[in-house]
């Protein structure tokens, strides 16, 4: 029964991926990518990886999907209809043969590796030292906190990089507005955004809090709140900030800064990112709340895009 479900799920994943890649209509392709993200979330649930399932659905399907839909809409507005010129037949056949060969070898490699639970036992043994129950949060914010620290800077750097792409006349104005212009539509979306934003905040706070012991954590929580911010912006309930707003910049760097400071405090006590016994949980939750706030704003602004020249707005 479960095997049948797994096989069906995998077939659907592959079919959806095929549609997301090879459908001619770009909007349909992106929609199938979102469906693919949700199915992958189910696959992760089947693998008992609830943390990853949350992240995949929220970020892989949600944020990436909104991002691509918005990019396509803006491209269409610029006169680029995102339709690919088909390659000559021989080139397509060559590409298919090449990828089929590569996939065959990769499949053999995958089959040659025996799945095992790897480091599970070691991680379980160390978890009491941190005082939290969710082993994935333990790996992300204790054992491999250094990776996570660098990763938050990648996210922050991506936003600065997106800012740097704006035309010279656009700096430091906000990105092109996300809100719907049709007044009727906007009233519906705006009401929804106003209702949802506080709920998203509550849910995000809960996800961080629950993340120490149950599935959840800063990235999932930040994404949920980013979703709330984006919906509110689409409904016109909130506007987009200027890139040089000091308050905005403070929120953006808050998470990385708190993380870095706590890491340095550990360095003073002996080791970079060392959490003294008994304080680990408190420090991890502090880092996660600060990170979630920064991640939410960063992700929402990453979706919104580069600064836009003001006269192009409205």
């Amino acid at each position: 029964m479960t095997a049948a479900f797994d096989i069906l799920l995998c077939v659907m994943i592959l079919g959806t991926a095929g549609a997301a890649l090879f459908l001619r209509d770009p909007l349909a392709a992106i929609v199938f990518l979102i469906v693919l993200g949700n199915l992958l979330g189910l696959a992760w649930l089947t693998l008992d990886a609830v943390n990853v399932a949350l992240a995949e659905i929220a970020i892989g399907a949600g944020v990436t999907g909104v991002l691509l839909i918005l990019a396509r809409a803006r491209l269409v507005a610029l006169g680029d209809n995102v339709v690919c010129e088909p390659m000559p037949l021989w080139a397509r056949l060559g590409a298919i043969a090449l990828c089929a060969g590569f996939t065959a070898v990769l499949s053999c490699v995958v089959l040659s590796i025996t799945p095992d639970s790897g480091l599970t036992a070691r991680i379980e043994a160390l978890m009491p030292r941190i005082g939290i129950e969710n082993p994935v949060t333990g790996v992300l914010l204790a054992f491999r906190a250094y990776d996570t620290l660098l990763e938050t800077f990648v996210l922050l750097g991506a936003l600065v990089a997106v800012w740097s792409l704006g035309p010279d006349t656009a700096w430091p104005h906000p990105p092109a507005a996300l809100r719907i212009f049709d007044p009727g539509l906007r009233s519906v979306a705006g009401a929804f955004g106003r209702v949802l934003l506080p709920m998203a905040l509550v849910m995000a706070a809960y996800l961080v809090w629950a993340g120490s012991d149950l599935p959840g954590g800063a990235f999932q929580a930040g994404t949920v709140f980013a979703g709330g911010l984006l919906l509110a912006a689409i409904g016109g309930a909130i506007g987009l900030p200027r890139a040089d707003s000091p308050a905005l910049r403070l929120v953006l760097v808050l998470g990385p800064l708190v993380f870095l400071m706590i890491g340095l405090a550990g360095a003073v006590l002996g080791r970079f990112l060392l959490f003294p016994d008994g304080t680990a949980k408190m420090l991890i939750v502090t880092i996660e709340y600060a990170l979630a706030a920064s991640i939410a704003v960063t992700l929402a602004l990453l979706v919104a895009g580069s600064p836009a020249t003001p006269d192009k707005q409205d």
Binding site: V105, V109, R122, R144, F153, L165, G166, D244, P246, A267
Partner: protein
Amino acid sequence: MSPIDLLVVTPLAFMILAILAGNRANWLVPAIMPVMAGLSVWLVLLPHDAAHVVGGWELPLGILLRADGIARLMVPATTVCFLAVGLYARSELLPGPGGGSARSQTFWPMMYLMWAGTNAGFLTTDLFNLYVAIEMVSLAAVAMAALGSLQAALRYFLIALVGSLAYLMGVALLFANYDTVDTTLLAGIGRPDLATRFALAVMTAGLLIKTALFPLHGWLPPAHAAAPAPASALLSAIVVKLGFVILVRLWFEAFPESAGSAVMHLLGGMGALAVLYGSAQAMRQDRLKPLVAYSTVAQIGYLFLAFPLVAGAQHPSGAWAGMMLHGVAHMLAKAAMFLAAGLMLKAAHGDRIADLVGLARAMPITVTAFGLAAVSLMGLPPSGGFTAKFLLLHAAIEQGAAIYAAVLVIGGLMAAIYLFRPLAVAFSGSDMPAVETGAPLRAAAPLALAVIAIALGFAGAAAVDLLVAASPWANEAHSPPEAVQ
């Protein structure tokens, strides 16, 4: 407290400060200079093989940071480059009278991100941590390339993305196979099975794309040539070196048993072709920056040409020292050359080599810097480039590798031809063109870099001793990989 952490933490902290400082971010450059210089010196002075795990979490769960020979060499060299480029960019990116532009505010966070990423990459032994470091560097590199040509940057971005994913796939397979992604642990347990070979193959391919080894170099010349001078200098001098260092770690440290002679000669052959192709292309350019960019394609070739020489040597220390010294000498000389080229092109009326007429009179310091950098890149004595190529040539002759020896010699000659052209034009002409003299620091930056590249040659013996001590074979009894013989 250890410089191993602080060398990454400091640029990250400055990235935050730069974001908060906005238009005043260029005042941070003088502040970071002494800090990073001091940390680099501290790193070199650390006891041999100083290492620790982050946060006190032991392997295989934690991440091991280590000041090995490569790190001791590359981190100070990148510090010198970043400092010079930072000083140069500081006067170039001064916010205008009407407030700052996007560029003058976003360049600094990107530069600090790249700095942290390269240091993180040089200092870690963890392959997944390296993935994050690679992405930090790539993101900053593409953003800098986009300051010049958006199309070239987009192409660079997509290709770099494929390279990263190939590397990530290799890391995923290695983790599934060995339950660890730490190179020091893998070195003990690596076995030449299908999964390992495939993982190594895709990781190598991905990193070669990022390092732009011929024939995977297509994205490099347009991106590096079009970017503003400080960005070009960082891209050509530093960014491509990170992929090279990871490949060295992978093949000579983590999986020496898998480094069969066929693989080494494949890399060496691609390196040799890169030297010839890049040099030939550089000779055909009639604009200055594409010429310097193609010279990077050629010079990267030497780094990989050295792979079979290191693997095949009875005592790999000579070839090893040559390879590493070449990496550092190229880093310094190429950064100097791009900065000097940027100044020369600002003064000249066009970007063609023919437009450089008379510049040697008008801006002697800058043209001298260009010339000294050229001396090192050609491999003329006395320079770091000469010592490196001499060591490599010596190893090639000792091993009877006639083809590699021939490429080393021919490549040097071709470099002399293509680098002599812009210099000859700059020294020609009888009248002195009117040139606006910029900030003196801007002219000093490339000169300082070029002088250090030359000084590496004078300090030849000391540098070689340091490098030999830095090789993976220095302390251990085991000789080079046995598979190669």
